[in-house]
Amino acid sequence: MSLRAVSKHFDDVVAVDSVDLDIGDGEFFALLGPSGCGKTTTLRMIAGLEIPSAGSLKIFGSEVGPLPPNRRPVNTVFQNYALFPHMSVADNVGFGLRMSKTPKADVARRVSEAISLVRMGGMENRRPAQLSGGQQQRVALARALVNRPKVLLLDEPLAALDLKLRQEMQFELKQLQREVGITFVFVTHDQEEALALSDRIGVMDSGRLLQVGTPEEIYDAPVDRFVADFIGRSNFLAGTLEAHDRVCLANGDRVTVPSVADGVVSVGDAVQVSLRPERVMIDRAGAAPEGHASLEGEVATVTFLGNSIVYRVALDWMTIEVETDHRPDLDRHEVGDRVAMWWRDDAIAVVRP
């Protein structure tokens, strides 16, 4: 599936702004972003529930941009499942097959297969209202999968479930995707869910697709400040890119950075350096090992979190958050202590401000 410069405007609201995206066959792909960033709209354009304002949208090489939803090899699991309340589980699951005029005998067989695939056997005659949230979720999955779509779209399918059930369903969803082997495009605003489930993640903000990559790439090498901030936590040090592997920080220090990929930022640009709190080492002032960039400052607050300790260290030009393991062999610093902080060169990323 490929999207090229796909945009969608609602009157003067730009819901999706020129998105380019390729999703491979059989991939588990997550679209991640805060509420209102255009995830649902992107998904609805793939489903055919919205016609794009501009761009090209291909599934298996054929253009589907203007096609209505009933003529696409795609099915959707809706945000609140959208199960038909007046139909039994079996009738819900069989709806798509009946609408596409599948022979009766086939319908019955495929419905019961789909129902057992999602482990809902024995519940065929219940109404959606008589099912728990997790069960409704499974029926919605069966109702989409029974049509053997080439791509399954899921709009925040787990958002309505409570935490424990959500974790269970995450696992099941992953399992199911391996079993059926089709492409899953999954929308979520929950970064942990995206990291845990997906082969690749696309991060969206304000209608734009900021970065696409594996969960590790997204976490370790964000290219945009928003991405680094939205996934995990990060310190951002302002500076200027002096060479493709060197940044001059706002305090005048020069730090070595992993070489910057083409097209993200260019030499001479104002950039930010993203520094994850848990990648920063901390020790008494002056204890920083040679050969590393380091900063010194004064501990402003100490927060104990059980397995870790978070220090906020005040420099004269910014504050840096540092997270260390809580271990007896590490020195504990107190408020007012002067400390030194350093990091490996590959622990940081240069991002667009």
Binding site: R4, I51, P52, S56, G65, P66
Partner: protein
């Protein structure tokens, strides 16, 4: 990224498809609305305009209406004593009816709102049932009850108060109107009292308000939208009432509604009837605006 050779063409094609989709969607909506839209224009909007036009026409000596000599005569007639008296009487009776309904309905609605769900639903259904039953029959029932020698009269006579002779008086009309429109007052009042945040009442008690004081300062102001909505729902139909004054006032206590009917069916003065209908509608429109301003739509 592969650049499509026909990327521009595709883009316009999609934009076109999007626009066509929207146009088709709008057309579907219009098509769906069209039959009733046309019906309402022909059989409602056009009649309304005709009434307006007629109110500026002249009544000829033969009783027919000349659609030529346009003037404001019919509106000027509204200032004449006969019509003015009818209007004043209608307003006064409608006001009395509204106040009575309010006084009776508020405690009832308050009582409902403070009951358990079962009792409350039972009471509300009990209010709704007469509201759904035939309007004419409900008026007739009072005619029967109040008739001379009828049940109420016999009862007052038997306890030594003498026969009751209130049929065909203003009192009978007001009783009939209150009876007919009481549910209109109860339901919005109930809705607004039911929605009241009782913690605010508790807070006022905590801040040293007595029971009556907290009612006056907290409950009443907060349920004002219900009071306004209910009052309008009672006042407007009372002003235009026709059946009730006819049956219980015996045609003696002419109200606006009856007067308009007379202008059409007996006096054959259509321009005056039309102008009065318009006045009635103006009252209704102004009231509706107040109703929506008071948040009546949410009740």
């Amino acid at each position: 990224m592969t650049v499509l050779p026909d990327a521009d063409a595709l883009e316009t094609a999609l934009g076109e498809a999007e626009r066509r989709g929207e146009v088709a969607e709008r057309r579907r909506g219009l098509l769906l609305a069209l039959p009733s839209f046309a019906y309402m224009v022909l059989f409602f909007a056009v009649p309304l305009v005709i009434v307006l036009v007629y109110s500026f026409a002249t009544r000829t000596s033969s009783g027919s209406t000349a659609l030529s000599d346009w003037n404001l005569e019919a509106y000027r007639k509204l200032g004449e004593p006969i019509v003015r008296n009818v209007v004043i009487r209608s307003v006064v009776l409608a006001l009395i009816t509204t106040v009575l309904c309010l006084v009776i309905a508020y405690p009832f609605a308050y009582f409902c709102a403070t009951r358990s769900a079962t009792v409350r639903n039972l009471l509300l259904v009990a209010v709704m049932i007469p509201f759904w039953t035939n309007f004419l029959v409900r008026n007739y029932a009072w005619r029967l009850l109040l008739s001379s020698g009828g049940p109420i009269s016999s009862f007052t006579e038997s306890i030594g108060l003498g026969p009751t002779e209130i049929l065909f008086t203003k009192t009978a009309v007001v009783i009939g109107l209150v009876y007919a429109y009481l549910p209109f007052m109860i339901l919005p009042l109930f809705a607004s009292i039911d929605r009241l945040d009782w913690r605010l009442v508790e807070a006022s008690r905590d801040l040293y308000a007595s029971g009556p004081a907290s009612f006056r300062k907290v409950v009443l102001p907060l349920t004002m939208p219900g009071v306004i909505a209910g009052s309008i729902l009672v006042f407007v139909p009372s002003m235009g009432a026709y059946v009730t004054p006819e049956l219980l006032g015996g045609g003696k206590e002419t109200l606006l509604g009856s007067y308009i009917v007379t202008q059409f069916l007996t006096a054959r003065n259509w321009p005056v009837g039309a102008s009065l209908s318009f006045v009635l509608m103006a009252v209704m429109l102004v009231s509706t605006i107040i109703y929506f301003r008071a948040g009546g739509k949410n009740l």
